[in-house]
Structure formats: structure tokens, C-alpha cells
């Protein structure tokens, strides 16, 4: 249900841009945040706010993997399967996650906790294989990292904290990387090689 208040917010978003159509992505985020996923009603509301046609909004929704057509799990795990991640072993990660969660890619666990998806390039090729849990990136994913990640998610601890460390480790110079208290063994191993 998209309330009048949400519709007003959408109009307000669109008013920030020279062309109201430019507000389409934030409006869709708002629709998804409001209803949990993108419903036909959400599409209609965004079309109205942006002045775009229904079918155009529909097309945009289908283009971006961060919008969903069905109710999603609490944690949506999006595994990148584009070329860099593929070369770095995303298939193993995916298979492992499928085994651990007991679902196939595209599905949601019966308890509504996890959704597992394959997506096109997440623009994290330098830290492949990469995946995304809701808004947060997890990079250089090994099977062990995947396990750690799942444990943390089951305890509702999120993955954001882990990422901060990896960012320092991944981007910083050699010394910091060694000192970092990182759970990312794959990354360290690679550096050692």
C-alpha cells in the first residue's frame, strides 16, 4: 500500500531534478522500502510522480537487480556472476551458499530469512568474487568467508563491520594489510602469493 504521504515524498524527490523522470530510481527505492518489494501499485505511483509511462517504469525495474518483484527474504544475498567474479570462482561460492541455505539460486528460505540471487556485475571486479547483502558489499569471498557471513547474519550482526576492515586491508599498503584483524583469509593468502 503506497500512502498519500509516500506519494508526496515521491513528488518531492522528483521536484529536485530538472526533469521529474530523473527521480525514478530513488522513487523506486522508496516504493520498495515501503512495500518490501515492487508491486504494480508501486509502479503506478512512481509513474505518476515521474510522469513516465507504466511500461517505462516496468522496464527500469526489470533492469536493476536491486528492485524485486516478489517479497524477499530479510537478507538478500546477490552473488555477482559476471566475468571477473566468474574467473575468481563465484560458481563455488554460489554452490556452497545453496548447500548451506538449502535453497537454489532465485529462491527464498522457508523461514523468510534469506534470498539467494545471481546478479550481473556489481562493479567490484577488483575484489572478486563479490556479493552484496542488502545494501552491503562482501568482497574477496571464499567459502570460509561465506560461512562466517552466514553465521553473522543468523545472529543478526550484519556484515557492514567486516567490510570496513577489508576495505582498509584491500586498499591500503602492505603493512596495514598484514596488521588488519581480518577474517578474510583468501585475501591474505593471495597477498602472500
Amino acid at each position: 500500500m503506497i500512502s498519500e504521504d509516500v506519494k508526496a515524498q515521491m513528488r518531492e524527490i522528483c521536484a529536485r531534478y530538472p526533469s521529474p523522470r530523473s527521480g525514478m530510481l530513488p522513487c523506486l527505492h522508496l516504493a520498495e522500502a515501503t512495500e518490501g518489494y515492487i508491486t504494480p501499485e508501486g509502479i503506478a505511483a512512481v509513474a505518476e510522480a515521474t510522469g513516465a509511462k507504466l511500461d517505462e517504469v516496468d522496464s527500469v525495474v526489470s533492469f536493476y537487480s536491486m528492485y524485486h518483484r516478489q517479497p524477499q527474504g530479510k537478507y538478500v544475498i546477490k552473488v555477482c556472476t559476471s566475468i571477473s567474479c566468474y574467473l575468481m570462482g563465484c560458481d563455488d561460492v554460489l554452490a556452497h551458499l545453496e548447500n548451506r541455505l538449502g535453497i537454489r539460486r532465485g529462491e527464498t528460505t522457508p523461514d523468510g530469512q534469506f534470498t539467494l540471487q545471481c546478479v550481473e556485475c556489481l562493479a567490484a571486479c577488483g575484489m572478486a568474487p563479490a556479493l552484496q547483502v542488502n545494501e552491503d558489499f562482501v568482497e574477496n569471498v571464499s567459502l570460509q568467508v561465506a560461512d562466517t557471513m552466514l553465521e553473522r547474519l543468523k545472529r543478526d550482526e550484519g556484515v557492514a563491520g567486516m567490510n570496513a576492515n577489508w576495505d582498509v586491508a584491500g586498499i591500503g599498503a602492505g603493512d596495514t594489510a598484514n596488521n588488519a584483524n581480518s577474517a578474510n583469509t583468501t585475501s591474505s593468502e593471495k597477498k602472500a602469493r
Binding site: 504494480p40 509502479i43 509511462k53 507504466l54 511500461d55 516496468d58 522496464s59 526489470s62 559476471s82
Partner: protein
């Protein structure tokens, strides 16, 4: 033509070429006849650069460039034949073919497919892909008429861009991305556009196919003839595709000045009448008098019967006792012969057609014509749609209005009913049905009362301006609000917009003139345009949107009781004498009976060609039809009217004969025979020639071209109109002298718009045009 287009010089594969500034390399190569393969690019749409098929090498550019997005520059050196270019094209094609099913033997597109053709000419000879291709359900409907085969799609996005940027309607969109990209439709926004068929024509592969054409033929079995669509008054240029004795489809034969390369679905697919098994194949007559059955007869029998009875009746009661109802579907040549048969052969002015009411306007009898052109819409700053529905009735005009909107034109939709253009309009004004005339007068009131008139005409003809001011003094928008339930303020604002416009085009539907308030609609709107200086240049003008393929031609040719061909009154002795001279006959001076009068017992014998008055007649009119001494009906079908006839003559469709049509913007165009006439049936002009001969007249016409030549002599506004002058893309009357051709022959060119001086000097009476041509055009 005043501004010279700036040209850019470049070479492609060593050949020099000059193209207008801003052209892309593809267009320059096209001009040289060098093929640069394209999938996503379409010359009528913005470049996209998605398919990566059109790579060319440009000197000094580090990488290959896409010819469809790279704009030419002075001195550019382009090569389309380097090893790098060949390799790139092969690579693109190899990728495209990885998932393409190669089901060419059963694909409708096979034989006219760009994927086949470019693979032959530019592609790799083998594929390195030996895994399984992906498969989808085959095919899925995307609309009522169109099916999608996703396996064949190469995601060029032409169809999506047509729907979104050209038609500007709900329709096809791209769904998903990357290799999952496919064409889709949102169920809440179905693809029900009147322009949908264009995506089938522009699909470079067999992904989008028309339901009516699936598995019906191979393209190389088709006989293709360039002609003009016979479905509405726009006159889009088509290629009629015939297999043996059936028209299977009409494709666009691009004429930028009329259709801009598009067709509507009606024109493309609505061909059932031509292919119908119900068509008449033999003349029918009632041998045993009025109450006997219609029975097959020979042409001789039928024509003799008609001539005998017509002679009997005219000898007994005079020419006034016979009348003819002509057609807005037949060619100019046929309409012309029809009225000639009555005027010269039977001494009767009783000729008319449905919608024939046509009170002369005050401006020297200017016919109700669109003073500008379809292409001119693109130059307008304002377009006013008054009581018209071009989307349904003249679809390709609607499409051109959409193009004008993209170019910045403001559209005002002033109609009783919701209109498909509402969503795109700057202003929408609703009023009660039947009140179009009230709206026009209110607009005129604002313009005169607020002194918004301007321009040459208003200054030089101030007397008529003053007269106008008086006649509409009471018709304020506020009064219109009372009568017609219209928003007075919006109407007032619209009048001011029209008066201040850089160029406004005002279009109304011819049907609006038949409303009780519509008698002076054409005259009022003509004055509105003249007094606000919205006349006499491209992108400014006024005129009706007509209904049928030859609605205007029927009028031009004098299928009217009170005017001779070319809108000269029958009461004009000089005009009668001139025409009588051409025809070698004395013409009746008294105006004839109108359509309604003839149908209400005004005549004893009625000849109906290509019309079906009984389908919407009143009980009194039906009784009068039944009471006729002689009813001749000439048609493709046994219509309601034909069932009442004494003699029925089988006619053929426009795809089975030669001739010309005149579209709603005065463009006379050549229609060509695309197939053998149905056995037993004849073209209307042949039938009329037969009737005339049976009546003892010496009609020797051998072809429609010969009749057209006579029309040029007999109809001043058609002076100079010959098959040669019309060429492949037609010409707008009146033809005026242009620059002399290289061989010194006088060249005639069409008038894309009328000026008020042309109108006043008598385009309608044809004096100006007739003299212009008579002085020069001896060779033709």
C-alpha cells in the same frame, strides 16, 4: 528552400561525398551506395549505437567507430573495407548467431532478413560455438496482432524505441539486462497501439511477426507494387505485396512528405475486403421486372439494359429525373467520368456523394482544403485539433503531430470526447458534442473583440475584418460556456495563443461540418487563420481532416450538384462554356439535387457507384429507394443498396486498377494495379466507359492516364497534373511553374501550401493556375 544546407565533404573507401552537416557516416555511405550493415540504427529514429554492427575505420581515430553514431566532419577519411572492420563485423555476427535458432526454413522473415543478408555478406563462415543454444517458448503474443519469438531477437531495441519515442504510446519495452535482455510488455500497459505493425516491418530479424502473415508465404513469392493505401484520407505510400490473387500485406513505401515511412495497422492489415470470397464476379439483373430475383447476366446484357432504361427515363422526364451518387473511394479518373456521364451524357447536374454538403466559403469559393501540408505540421508552433480524432480516423497525421510535439509544438485538443493525444497535449478543452461551430465562433469573437488580428490579410482586407467583427459580436466564450458547456477562460486563452503563435495549424474533422452548428465551420476557421496570420507558409494553416482515401478527389472532380470539376459553380456560364468545349457538349446550368434529395424521391433513376446509402438510410429513404424505376449499383459487394438494385455491376478494388487519389492535403498520387482484377469484375472507369458507349457516347479512353490528361484540361486546379508530373511521390495542387529542367522543358512543382493571394486570385476558379500552366506546358 531559402536556407542553403551546409554540406560536409568526406571520403569513404576513397570516394568523395558531400552530405548535410550533422549527418552520420552511415547516411554518407548510403548515399554512395556503400553498405554499412546496421541493426539498431533506423534512419527515422535517434542513433543508439547498441548493436555494434556498423563499425568503420576512420583515419586518425584510435579505435573503430560506429557509423550510425559518428557524425561526419570536414575532410574525414572513412574506410569500410579494412581487415579490422571485417574482423569486427564477423565478431559481432558470430556473437549474435550464438543464440539465434537459425530456424530460417520456417521463419517468415527468411529471404528478407538482415541477419541472413549481413551474415552472407559480412559474416563468418562458421561458428566456434558448439554448446546448446538457449530456448524459449515459441512464440508468445505481445499484442492482438503481433507475436514475439524471443530466440530470434537480437535485442537491437528498434521496436522498443519506436513505441517509446515515435509512437509515444504504451507498448514494447526492454526487460532485464545483459544476456537476459528481452522484449516485453507490461500487462497494465498493453500494446494496443494503432501503429503497432511498424515494429514488425522494422524488426531486422524474425522476432516480431504479424499474426496475419505467419507461415503464409515466402517473401520471394510476393509480387510487390508501389502504390497508395486506400484506407483513409492520408494516402500513405505503400508497397502492395500480393501472392497470386491475394494481398497479404502492405509495407511502407516511404514518402517523407506524407507518411514519414510509417503505416497504421488499418492500412497494413485491413485487407479483408480485397481478399473476400463474397465479392461480386458477374453483373446481376432483374430479368422479370421489379419483383423478380437478381440473376447473373452478361456485361452486354447489363449495360444495354442500363442504357435503354436511362434513355427512356430522360427522354420522358428530362435529365432532372436521373441522378448519381458517387464514391469517396474510387479514383479521381472514375469520379470525373461519373459526373461527366451525368453532366455531358444525360444533361443532369444530379451528382453528389455522401458528406457532399459543401457550402461555398466567403473567400472567393475557396474549397475546404487543408491550406498547409502534413509535413508542415513539424514547422508549427501550435496545433489545434478541433472536433477531430486523427488517431482513429487519420492515424498517420496523428503520428506526425506526435513528431511535432517532440520538436516543441504545443498541441491543443479541443474535442467533445477524450482523445489519444490528451496525454501529450499542452491544453485539453472539452465541450458538448455537436457544438464545434459554437467553439469556432467563440475563438473568432475573442480574436476580433480583443483586436488580436494581425498580418497582411487583416490589414489589406479590413472591410471583411469589420464585417467579421459584427457577425461574431455576440458569440463570446462566456456564451459558448452556456451553450456548449466549455471552459470559457480556457477558450479565451486558446484564442490568444492562436493569435500570438509563430505558426498555428488548425485542423477539424469534415464530420464536424455536418453538425447543426457546423454549416459555417469551414468559413469561420478559415477566417480565424487568415485574420491571425496563420496562413500561407509551412507550419501555419487551416483545413479539414477528411475521411476516405479520395474524399477530396471526389469533390475536386465535381461529384457535387452545384459545382463543376475544380469548384466552378454550375451557374458560371464561362466555366460551363469552357468545360463544354473540352467535352463537346452543352451543360445544364441549374444546380442539381443533393445526396439527401436524391435519396428522398427526387429522382426516378439512381446510379450508385461505390457507395451504400441504404446502410444508414431512414425508412422514408428506403421506401424511396425501393420505389425507384431504375437503381444501378456498381460495387465490389452485394451491399444493402445493391440488394435493392435493378442492375448490379461488379467493380474491383483499388489494388486491381490504375488511377490517382487525392489525399486530405491536396496531394494527388498515382495508384498502381498490383494484381489481376477479379475475374468477371471490372474497374469503375471501364464500367463507366461501357455505360457511356451503350448510351451512344464516343468515349474512347484506353487508360486512366488518358483520362487524367483530360482532367488536366477540364479542371483548372489540376492543370498540369499528369502521370509524369506526379512521379513516384505525388504533387499537391495547384501545380505551379518551377525552375526549368536541364533540357529546357517547363517543370511544374507542387504547392505545399496556399497563400491568401492565391485564394483570392482564384485558385478555386482555377484562373491563376490554369493560365500559369496553359502558357507553358505545351509539351505535356
Amino acid at each position: 528552400m531559402a536556407e542553403q544546407e551546409e554540406l560536409v565533404n568526406l571520403t569513404i573507401d576513397g570516394q568523395p561525398v558531400s552530405v548535410p552537416k550533422g549527418s552520420v557516416i552511415w547516411a554518407a555511405a548510403q548515399k554512395l551506395g556503400i553498405e554499412v550493415p546496421i541493426y539498431c540504427y533506423h534512419p527515422k529514429m535517434e542513433p543508439l549505437g547498441a548493436c555494434r554492427m556498423c563499425f568503420v575505420a576512420v583515419e586518425k581515430m584510435p579505435k573503430l567507430a560506429t557509423a550510425c553514431t559518428t557524425v561526419v566532419s570536414e575532410g574525414m577519411v572513412v574506410r569500410t573495407d579494412t581487415p579490422a572492420v571485417k574482423k569486427a563485423r564477423q565478431g559481432t555476427l558470430e556473437f549474435l548467431l550464438i543464440n539465434h535458432p537459425l530456424d530460417c526454413p520456417i521463419c517468415d522473415k527468411g529471404g528478407e532478413c538482415d541477419l541472413q543478408d549481413f551474415t552472407l555478406r559480412h559474416g563468418p563462415s562458421a561458428s566456434r560455438f558448439d554448446l546448446s543454444k538457449r530456448h524459449f517458448q515459441k512464440p508468445i503474443p505481445v499484442s492482438e496482432n503481433i507475436l514475439l519469438d524471443r530466440e530470434r531477437c537480437i535485442a537491437c531495441q528498434r521496436c522498443m524505441r519506436f513505441c517509446q519515442t515515435v509512437a509515444m504510446e504504451d507498448g514494447l519495452v526492454m526487460e532485464e539486462r545483459g544476456f537476459r535482455t528481452e522484449i516485453g510488455v507490461n500487462p497494465d500497459a498493453p500494446f494496443d497501439s494503432n501503429f503497432s505493425g511498424n515494429v514488425v516491418e522494422m524488426c531486422p530479424v524474425g522476432a516480431l511477426t504479424a499474426k496475419s502473415y505467419r507461415f503464409v508465404t515466402r517473401p520471394w513469392e510476393l509480387q510487390k507494387t508501389g502504390s497508395v493505401c486506400g484506407n483513409c484520407a492520408v494516402g500513405c505510400n505503400v508497397r502492395v505485396d500480393v501472392r497470386v490473387d491475394k494481398v497479404l500485406r502492405q509495407y511502407s513505401r516511404t514518402n517523407d512528405s506524407i507518411d514519414d515511412g510509417w503505416l497504421c495497422d488499418r492500412g497494413r492489415w485491413d485487407l479483408d475486403a480485397i481478399n473476400s470470397l463474397e465479392r461480386l464476379r458477374t453483373p446481376l439483373i432483374r430479368k422479370g421486372g421489379k419483383n423478380s430475383e437478381l440473376q447473373p447476366a452478361s456485361w452486354d446484357e447489363a449495360l444495354t439494359l442500363i442504357a435503354t432504361r436511362l434513355r427512356e427515363i430522360t427522354e420522358r422526364d428530362g435529365g432532372r429525373a436521373v441522378g448519381g451518387i458517387g464514391s469517396t473511394h474510387t479514383t479521381n479518373e472514375e469520379a470525373y467520368l461519373f459526373q461527366k456521364l451525368f453532366r455531358a451524357g444525360l444533361g443532369s447536374n444530379n451528382v453528389d456523394h455522401r458528406h457532399g454538403r459543401f457550402p461555398a466559403t466567403e473567400r472567393n469559393g475557396l474549397p475546404w482544403v487543408w491550406s498547409d501540408s502534413i509535413a508542415g505540421l513539424e514547422k508549427a508552433s501550435h496545433i489545434v485539433i478541433l472536433g477531430a480524432d486523427p488517431y482513429h480516423r487519420q492515424p498517420i497525421v496523428d503520428l506526425r503531430i506526435r513528431k511535432a510535439i517532440r520538436g516543441g509544438a504545443q498541441v491543443y485538443v479541443v474535442t467533445p470526447e477524450p482523445n489519444r493525444l490528451d496525454r501529450l497535449a499542452t491544453g485539453v478543452i472539452r465541450y458538448q458534442a455537436g457544438q464545434t461551430g459554437t467553439i469556432a465562433r467563440a475563438l473568432l469573437n475573442v480574436v476580433t473583440a480583443e483586436n488580436l488580428t494581425r498580418g497582411d490579410f487583416a490589414e489589406k482586407r479590413s472591410a471583411s475584418l469589420d464585417a467579421r467583427r459584427t457577425t461574431v459580436a455576440q458569440d463570446t466564450p462566456e456564451r459558448a460556456a452556456e451553450i456548449a458547456g466549455v471552459d470559457a477562460a480556457a477558450l479565451r486563452e486558446l484564442a490568444r495563443e492562436i493569435a500570438g503563435a509563430k505558426g498555428a495549424v488548425i485542423l477539424y474533422d469534415e464530420m464536424a461540418t455536418l453538425e447543426p452548428t457546423g454549416a459555417n465551420l469551414a468559413a469561420d476557421l478559415l477566417d480565424l487563420a487568415l485574420l491571425t496570420d496563420n496562413f500561407g507558409r509551412p507550419g501555419a494553416g487551416v483545413g479539414p481532416l477528411l475521411e476516405d482515401n479520395n474524399s477530396l478527389g471526389a469533390r475536386d472532380m465535381g461529384l457535387l450538384p452545384d459545382t463543376l470539376p475544380g469548384y466552378r459553380p454550375v451557374s458560371d456560364a464561362a466555366a460551363r462554356a469552357a468545360l463544354g468545349g473540352v467535352w463537346n457538349a452543352t451543360l445544364p446550368s441549374e444546380p442539381g439535387k443533393s445526396y439527401d434529395e436524391m435519396l428522398s424521391g427526387g429522382v426516378k433513376a439512381l446510379y450508385v457507384m461505390g457507395a451504400n446509402p441504404a446502410s444508414d438510410a431512414t425508412p422514408q429513404q428506403l421506401a424511396a429507394l425501393n420505389a425507384l424505376e431504375l437503381l444501378v449499383v456498381q460495387d465490389m459487394f452485394l451491399t444493402e443498396t445493391a440488394k435493392r438494385a435493378t442492375v448490379v455491376l461488379p467493380a474491383v478494388a483499388y489494388t486491381e486498377k490504375d488511377g490517382t487519389f487525392t489525399n486530405t492535403e491536396r496531394c494527388v498520387q498515382v495508384v498502381r494495379r498490383a494484381m489481376q482484377p477479379l475475374p468477371g469484375a471490372k474497374a469503375d472507369w471501364e464500367i463507366l466507359r461501357g455505360v457511356a458507349r451503350a448510351l451512344g457516347l464516343h468515349w474512347a479512353y484506353l487508360s486512366p492516364a488518358e483520362i487524367l490528361k483530360e482532367i488536366g484540361r477540364a479542371t483548372p486546379i489540376y492543370a498540369g497534373v499528369t502521370r509524369r508530373a506526379l512521379g513516384d511521390s505525388g504533387a499537391r495542387w495547384p501545380l505551379v511553374p518551377g525552375e526549368r529542367a536541364a533540357d529546357g522543358r517547363p517543370a511544374l512543382q507542387s504547392s505545399p501550401y496556399l497563400t491568401w493571394q492565391m485564394v483570392e486570385q482564384g485558385v478555386a476558379r482555377g484562373i491563376a493556375a490554369g493560365e500559369l500552366v496553359a502558357g507553358r506546358g505545351r509539351g505535356e
